[in-house]
């Protein structure tokens, strides 16, 4: 039993628990897999990673549509990106840093549980605030564009700008909801710990950050 447990732990540490190769022998715990926290942690990690794979497919479809639509027709007029997007990008990058600060576990000096808790909630709140700031910034960019007479239906380039930013914004809003959920849910009665939930929310958050960098590059360089 003891041996099986260490095996299980090793499995988690060596990157099991992902969509990476599942253990060929089926994992090797005691058969009652589901309620154990290790298995739950692995399952939730797999679930989030698979969700991200589906999101990649969704945005890749839009990207390929973008490229195809741009290559067709003569009505494509490059949309000048609002300057505020650069600022928004910095805000989102900063939020990725704060979320890492929030869940950092190893520090030079050992912290008490309260101090760690305090640091977590401080940086976690900062991340949520930055996330909201980013969305507000995106709305501001929309207003700048519409003030310049560029609307959803004006031309294909502006259509894609609104579609891509809106789709990303919705996903990021989901991320903010996840951060709030991690902060406020009672994790005592849950199948996973708050720590795991925070890890997974952070994974999603970084992914949204990277996705924005990709979309911004597409909209700027692929104009």
């Amino acid at each position: 039993m003891r041996a099986a447990a260490t095996e299980e732990l090793e499995l988690i540490e060596t990157g099991g628990g992902g969509v990476a190769l599942p253990p060929l022998d089926g994992g090797g715990d005691d058969g009652r897999r589901w309620p154990s926290p290790e298995v739950s942690r692995r399952a939730f990690t797999t679930g989030v990673q698979l969700g991200l794979a589906a999101i990649v497919m969704f945005f890749m479809s839009l990207t390929s549509a973008y490229i195809v639509r741009k290559g067709l027709g003569t009505d494509w007029q490059a949309t000048e990106m609002p300057r505020v997007l650069w600022l928004n990008t910095l805000v989102l990058l900063a939020s990725s840093a704060t979320i890492e600060l929030a869940r950092r576990r190893n520090t030079a000096k050992p912290l008490t549980a309260e101090a760690r808790e305090e640091r977590f909630s401080r940086w976690w709140t900062a991340t949520i605030a930055l996330g909201i700031l980013f969305l507000v910034g995106q709305l501001f960019a929309w207003r700048q564009l519409s003030a310049a007479g560029l609307f959803l239906r004006t031309n294909p380039s502006s259509s894609f700008f609104y579609v891509l930013t809106a789709a990303h914004g919705l996903h990021l809003a989901g991320g903010i909801f996840a951060l709030l959920y991690v902060a406020f849910r009672n994790w005592k009665r849950s199948r996973i710990t708050q720590e795991t939930a925070a890890d997974l929310a952070a994974l999603y958050w970084h992914f949204m950050d990277g996705l924005w960098l990709f979309l911004f590059a597409l909209l700027t360089l692929g104009r």
């Binding site: 039993m1 003891r2 447990a5 260490t6 299980e8 732990l9 628990g17 969509v19 599942p22 060929l24 022998d25 089926g26 994992g27 090797g28 715990d29 005691d30 058969g31 009652r32 897999r33 589901w34 309620p35 154990s36 926290p37 290790e38 298995v39 692995r42 399952a43 797999t46 679930g47 698979l50 969700g51 794979a53 589906a54 999101i55 990649v56 497919m57 969704f58 945005f59 890749m60 479809s61 839009l62 390929s64 549509a65 195809v68 639509r69 067709l72 027709g73 003569t74 009505d75 494509w76 959803l152 239906r153 294909p156 259509s159 579609v163 789709a167 199948r191």
Partner: protein, 591 residues
Amino acid sequence: MATHAGAGVHAHTAPTGFLWKYIFSLDHKVIGIQYYFLALFSVFVGMALSLLMRFHLVWPAAKVPFIAGGIMKPEQYLALVTMHGTIMVFMVLTTAPQSGFGNYFLPIEIGAEDMAFPVLNMLSFWTTFVSLVVILAAFFVEGGAPIGGWTSYPPLSAVGDVAGPGQGAGQTLWVIGLAIFCLASLIGALNFITTTVDLRCKGMSLMRMPLTVWAWLVTAILGLLAFGVLLAACGLLLLDRLAGTSFFIPGGLVFTDTVLTSHDGGSPLLWQHLFWFFGHPEVYIAILPGMGVTSHVLSNFSRKPVFGYKAMVGAICAIGFLGFCVWGHHMFVSGMSPYSAFAFSLLTMTIGVPSAIKTFNWLGTLWGGKITFTCAMLFALGFVSLFVTGGLSGLFLAQPTLDLYFHDTFFVVAHFHFVMGVAAIFGIFAGTYFWFPKMFGRMLNEGIGKVHFWLTFVGVYCIFMPMHFLGMVGRPRRYADLTGVNFLAPLHNVEFFISIAAFITIGAQFIFLYNFIHSLGWGKKAEENPWRATTLEWTIPSPPPFDNFAGRHVQVYRGPYEFSVPGAPQDFIPQDEAPVEVHGVHNEGKT
């Protein structure tokens, strides 16, 4: 940290109230049955639509019940075509074999207590339900159901009701309904994969999973990667319809006497690419679970292990992978470059290789077996037959030169109804006759079941085989009425024959319905393992308790199809039976 886990945190306990036990249940078994009944309802709706179509094709001037105005107008026929395809593909072929049986049996067959995310599972079903309601609602709005076919090609699907009566509100509901269905399927796929990857019991290695589980896993992967693409496409189509964008709508379109000036520069082909990038994997989403069930059932009733188990696993994965590389073969007539067409053609015919491996291995499984012709077995054999018949016409259609001629004829109708439609339906029937005792605790009547099988089997061949010939002659598809067309006039008898065969086959499904309902209430009580099968669902009571194994720690010691093992006391060994000889001692020493 690892050892004290599990005792305190029980994920969920059996609910008591009716609402939480049967409606918003978190139990994968109840959800599986909910999906099954949703599909059962939908299949009868879809069948009723095809009945009206077959009636109209033979008696175009006759009055038809349920049709506004009595005599069917061409656009009403097209609405039937659209809704028949949509309901059958999404609500039946995608739902029953994967979400229905998969939900019920995947966790049990891998020794898990439930799906990885029970709440998501429940949400996934109810989202599907909402999507069905939204799609059916299209019948009841102004203009009626959409008329653009289940593929809803723009520009006709994108410009609103100038394109026809159903293309207004009806088409909008169709797009929204489909988008909701995409969300439901994504959630479901995520749950299936996670469950298979992370919740297998001790000893259930990948190469010990039943082929049904392999099929459900690969199907879920296809769903996860494909439905996001359809979702994106539906989103863009909706914007074209409602927000005035031009993703799919080209400029200068003329409808009767008006030129459409509000749109410009969009590409209908873009929709086709996005749609078929989803649509081709969708074909395998419909058929793969049926392949899994067929392997399972053939092995069981031949009392032989599946021939070439590893090759079967490889073939399932290869079919899944290749399914993503061939979407262009739906677009040979779209004016694509012959070089692209050649590449798609070659890749498409490559799918013949894993398909042939599967067929060869099914025959190998049967070879020399002690075959009993139960209803489940008959339907599995029917599946093989239909799959081969439908697959062979696929080789014709995979060639661009032939497809140019066949594409818009009944040859294609015959092809996809054989290979994707009725083959998958036979997979569902095989699963139903095989698993009904486990799901409902009672046996289906085998005698009535055999009548049902023979009428259906002969019936579908009588319906769809002649359609090949109609297609070769050049009978186009999607036309409401061709009675005045001279070169098709000699074929009226064939049409008549097909319609009569269709009426009889549809009638035969009521035999099944009677059997189903009657057996639910008054069937013979099922034992734990009536088919003398090996996989884990047959080691627990029928129907299974709430947490499947009643707290038992399942462990698996062997492969899924150990039939007729030399020297064994009986002709099957359940997966969880520990080896009695040297290995057993070794195992005991460990615990």
